[in-house]
């Protein structure tokens, strides 16, 4: 493995990441008292909407000075670059390339006997979730959410498969939480397939404040049976150090700031939600959740709580932009689609993907939407463009969509039931309950059956002018001092 200077390595814990973002000017620390009840998250929310900095709140109302709260760790491309150990101004395609390269070189975790997350151990009977400075994120949410930027560990009942996911959990009382990992999520699948049929509680561990690439790995669209801890090691280019939980056989990142150990009931529920989510809305997807009882809390002596102030352009905008796009590209390649590049633009709130292909047409567009909706369907709009369109150049993509997508023949729909994204604001309450929905591919490619000598020619300098004229125009442009 290539050994690089420390400044060029991915931060190996949350505190070194905060130090790096502070050094680059991407973190603002606030020493004045801030209210955990909406005000704190409101500051983080505004920052997301203005592409602003991360915040570290050093003085949280009602909580002792030992507690601090950090918001939106990697909600901007700059902070994502820092998480990878790259220069903060690294362009987005380089971040994609870095993720894809490191993803293909997984590094297994190592087990250690102890870690900072064990400095304070609180057994379940003394645990109190209200001792944690869990912010109320939005006015009108169903409650206070511990899991907006977390890493939830669960284990398959029948195999060695360990899942890391990022799932929301809401406080009900001192020891009870409700959560919304979708039934189609890997955690949901483990619970429904391996624990509920046998009436067994499922252990989970919610780790807060790990190194940012471990959280990124938790958000990744990873194959069933895949171990995100290996992925995290690959992304960090160093193994993740794991330490055993107090009340289960699960292992969590030893550098975590706080770990909540719990058991999910196989036969009990309680109210969960509503919650303002990553699509940028509070859609009313409440009342279909899981319920977990805390069995222990372990933490650092001076922990930093973390949250993502979810909504438009939150951390999922960048994390899923990368992990979702690479996963889509891999899946399309595996299914024989002639894909060249994939981009999931942050502004699309994980509902929109842009796919460029070496050969387009109706058949390819329909195949793309079919492949991407086989098991679950988080992306509902896919713009398919020819390979000469740069997927990262959104104006060029919009131009192709607006001009090349046939208003009738260019629309390719896949309808489904039981696997729709219940957070999609466009769905009715009835569709949300039955998880009924649809995805659509907008074929913005030239039909391959069109003869080349009759296919429209783009009216741009590089397409509709002779090389000699292009050269003279560019020389003139430069001589005028224009950029």
């Amino acid at each position: 493995m290539e050994e690089r200077p420390l400044a060029q390595q991915a931060p190996q814990d949350f505190r070194s990441f905060l130090a790096a973002t502070r050094a680059s000017g991407d973190l603002v620390a606030i020493d004045q008292e801030v209210d955990w009840d909406q005000e704190l998250a409101g500051i983080g929310r505004l920052s997301c909407e203005r592409n602003g900095p991360a915040f570290l709140f050093n003085n949280v109302k009602d909580y002792a000075p030992q507690w601090r709260v950090a918001t939106n760790p990697i909600a901007t491309w700059r902070r994502m670059a820092i998480a990878f150990g790259l220069p903060a101004d690294a362009p987005v395609p380089r971040l994609y390339e870095t993720y894809a390269a490191r993803e293909s070189r997984p590094v297994p975790p190592v087990v250690v006997k102890d870690g900072p997350c064990k400095e304070v151990v609180i057994p379940g009977e003394r645990a109190d979730l209200f001792e944690l400075p869990v912010p109320m994120v939005h006015e009108g949410d169903g409650g206070r959410y511990v899991g907006t930027w977390d890493l939830v560990v669960s284990k398959d009942a029948k195999s060695d498969w360990v899942n890391w996911g990022m799932y929301r959990f809401m406080i009900h009382n001192e020891r009870l939480m409700t959560g919304f990992p979708r039934p189609t999520s890997h955690l949901g699948k483990m619970l429904l397939d391996g624990y509920v049929p046998n009436g067994r509680p499922m252990p989970i561990a919610i780790a807060m404040g790990c190194d940012p690439l471990s959280h990124l790995a938790a958000t990744a669209t990873f194959r069933i049976g895949g171990n995100e801890a290996d992925l995290a090691g690959g992304l960090r280019e160093r193994p993740v150090e794991l330490v055993k939980c107090e009340t289960s056989d699960l292992y969590v990142p030893a550098s975590a700031e706080v770990v909540i150990e719990a058991e999910v009931y196989p036969d009990r529920i309680n109210q969960e939600g509503p919650y303002g989510e990553y699509p940028g809305y509070r859609s009313g997807e409440m009342g279909n959740a899981i319920c977990a009882r805390v069995t222990a809390i372990t933490r650092r002596r001076d922990p930093i709580w973390t949250l993502d102030t979810t909504g438009f352009m939150d951390s999922s905008a960048t994390t899923t932009s990368i992990t979702g796009a690479i996963a889509i590209q891999r899946r399309l390649e595996a299914n024989g689609v002639p894909v060249k590049a994939v981009y999931v633009p942050p502004e699309g709130a994980v509902h929109l993907a842009i796919v460029s292909v070496r050969r387009g047409g109706a058949e390819v567009a329909q195949k793309i939407v079919n492949v991407l909706t086989v098991r679950r369907a988080l992306i509902s709009k896919i713009i398919v463009v020819d390979e000469d369109v740069d997927v990262f150049n959104v104006p060029a993509v919009l131009h192709a969509f607006a001009t090349k997508c046939h208003p009738a023949r260019g629309i390719h729909v896949a309808r489904y039931e039981g696997k729709a994204n219940t957070l999609t604001p466009a769905y009715s309450q009835e569709e949300r309950v039955t998880r009924t929905g649809a995805s659509v591919a907008f074929d913005s490619t030239w039909p391959p059956e069109w003869p080349a000598d009759a296919t429209p020619v783009r009216a741009t300098l590089d397409s509709m002018y002779s090389p000699d004229v292009q050269r003279r125009v560019l020389e003139r442009w430069t001589s005028l001092g224009l950029q």
Binding site: H138, G140, G142, H172, N173, L176, V196, P266, C291, V433
Partner: protein, 99 residues
């Protein structure tokens, strides 16, 4: 008992019937435990009654009815309801109401 609660409902009319119902309430008392949940059997009065805690009703998307009600708590219930994961919560509390 707190002096002010909120609750989230799918069918607003059904909880304003005056009969005893099952609800999850969120305690709005300022401080560390604000938004703590409690499951109760209760009766809701559209016009707030003296001596009863105020109750704010929110919809499934969290919008708050501008006029508060009041709530008479008959008994506190266990903090979970019997049902498999991902069951419809509102159907579960309807079953709890029927006993």
């Amino acid at each position: 008992m707190a002096s002010e609660y909120e609750t989230f409902v799918r069918d607003r009319a059904s909880i304003l019937s005056g009969r005893e119902i099952v609800l999850t309430l969120r305690d709005l008392t300022p401080g560390r435990k604000k938004y703590r949940g409690v499951n109760v059997r209760c009766a809701v009065s559209r016009a707030p009654r003296p001596g009863e805690p105020l109750l704010w009703i929110r919809s499934v998307v969290g919008l708050r009815d501008p006029e508060p009600c009041s709530v008479r708590i008959v008994e506190e219930l266990p903090d979970t309801f019997q049902a498999p994961p991902y069951s419809d919560f509102f159907e579960a509390i309807a079953r709890a109401e029927r006993g």
